[in-house]
Subunit: 356 residues, 2 copies
């Protein structure tokens, strides 16, 4: 019995992706070998890498002014690598603090340059996205976390500024079209909307590279990986392949505008239930609600265990909220079918009838 | 038709490992979910991680004075991370240069301290392991590359010294028992003897940690990963699981002494043919020949294409030598069955009969 997978990450992948991913472990493209045991220099894998680099460009509409890399070490490694590669010691970068991941990004960037936190929503346990703050025009970049997995908030509009935005999109990349001209860099750990754990997508605008004066170990230098098509050393072959399968699936859906429509519909279904059901309430400010991670609580907390049991009985897994928010979190990434969201909504309705 | 896989890396994995690895992509341990889409904090995966950390200790006979980590970024990232974590700016470390990977390790370590190259075999295109050199007693550590994949050489004896050895064992880890007391650190990219590409095993002696005065980004600090059982951030779940399956398989073989016996037998079979067959000759010094990567050439180079064609016809793949040595290289890691080595030997015998 297949479960309805609401985990926050690593997270649900499209069913056809998992089928192809399993087949590749047995025999990759009729080679008589598993994908796990072929050279990353083989023509079969170099073709995988080329397509995996091309598809994000196609899906996001990136011009030749952007480079695409597959790195390792998670988004957590981009917290320091972005500043290490793009910010000089004497320069200042602006950061907006919208939760745990922003806070970590701020901490790690401080190794490399002046980091100014220009806005935060910490005062309300990160339940909203700050707005109307001043962005110093001399900032080398502005760092944002577009979707806050733990707190269930998401930017639905970018702040107005000419400063290039560096964005951690780990949990909402490829969930909607974006205005690429606003970004200097985008990075995302694969394990939410893109693939399994083990690789990190990084997209960087070429003109921001080669500016810093510090010396950087070869493996930490973006230019190393760009120059070698993310194969300077042995890349994480299998995670990248599963990303490719997911990227192909996204393209087959009809592109990001179609994907966004589906995501809007799924989120509306669940948020409507939260708002209409007398037992539940959302935790994020209505205008900043995430389309990816829907956070909510039971107004009567003593019913929480019973609701979790009801959801579990309906094969809904991974809905327990993060300890810093409590309550529940349903992660409904791209790969989540609306039918699974409906199952959870039905559990909520049924629970209200029995406990209302 | 399954191929005989002589690739240097990513490389052959045991057939039962691949079977279980494929099954886990469909449904992991009856969870109703793929291993690719479950939380790294789930009890199912934390059990994987704990066993994956324990088994190297069991197999190598490591005491409580060692810590085991699963990192990312390949052995190439350990080239700088080892020095960054273990060597102060004012300290000196000794390096032996036995080929391309040693050379890279030397280059990257130079970012962090004084790096002294105390011996090299570059004079003979790295066809031997240097011996009889002086190791300064004030070295913080001595760095060795135990097996040189490209050149087909391997240490069969460690140099005499009290200086702790830091060893890149990427291509011969778990191929034989080792005297762990000699090592301060061992690291290995998984994709040769341990698993698929995407994770790096690092073993470090506790007393060497916490000595350096520089500040280190959180993700680059070994202590971060040790403290959190390699799950400070989302680890590369699937590559680590496949490593676990391989580690279990190694244990089932009867441990490293048994594994070494098999590796000796396989290597002897192939080296004997190289020595006895009038058409072939080995490229590495006889006393330093690798048990993992057997490098050889045809005495008459004009026969090379025909030999490659004969091997390919017999389903032997991945035997083309690295461009810096030329000729051929048969990688016969732990997972390589003797029957596959026999197929290659038969091709060589047959080729000599037809071309002798």
């Amino acid at each position: 019995m297949k479960k309805h997978n609401f985990y926050a990450g690593p997270a649900i992948l499209p069913a056809p992706v998992l089928e192809q991913a399993a087949a590749a472990v047995v025999d990759f493209e009729g080679m008589g070998l598993s994908l796990l045991e072929i050279s990353h220099r083989s023509k079969e894998f170099t073709a995988v890498m080329e397509e995996a680099i091309q598809l994000p460009k196609d899906l996001l509409g990136l011009g030749d002014d952007f480079e695409v890399m597959y790195l390792t070490g998670g988004a957590s490694s981009q917290f320091y690598m972005a500043a290490m590669n793009l910010l000089n010691d004497v320069e200042t970068a602006s950061y907006v603090d919208t939760g745990a991941w922003s806070t970590k990004a701020i901490k790690e960037a401080q190794h490399f340059g002046n980091i100014e936190v220009i806005a935060t929503s910490k005062d309300k346990n990160y339940a909203y996205i700050p707005k109307g703050y001043h962005i110093p025009g001399n900032s080398t970049f502005l760092h944002l976390t577009s979707n806050n997995t733990i707190f269930g908030t998401e930017y639905h509009e970018l702040p107005e500024t000419d400063v290039p935005i560096i964005c951690d999109m780990s949990s909402d990349i490829f969930s909607r079209p974006i205005d690429v001209a606003r970004y200097g860099m985008i990075y995302a750990g694969a394990q939410k909307n893109l693939g399994p754990a083990g690789t990190t997508l990084a997209i960087v605008r070429k003109d921001l590279l080669g500016r810093v004066e510090r010396t950087i170990p070869t493996m930490l230098n973006y230019q190393t990986h760009i120059a070698k098509n993310s194969s300077f050393n042995t890349p994480p072959v299998y995670p990248i392949y599963v990303c490719l399968l997911t990227l192909r699936w996204l393209k087959e859906q009809g592109g990001l505008a179609v994907v966004e429509e589906k995501n809007q519909a799924k989120a509306a279904l669940l948020y409507n239930e939260i708002d209409e059901n007398p037992l539940f309430e959302g935790t994020a400010a209505a205008e900043d609600r995430s389309l990816m991670n829907v956070t909510f609580v039971l107004k009567d907390e003593t019913l929480s265990d019973a609701f979790l049991a009801a959801a579990t009985a309906a094969n809904c897994v991974g809905i327990k909220g993060h300890r810093s928010v409590g309550g529940f979190r349903a992660s409904i990434y791209n790969a989540m079918p609306q039918s699974s969201v409906q199952v959870l909504v039905d559990v909520m309705k049924d629970f209200a009838q029995k406990n209302g």
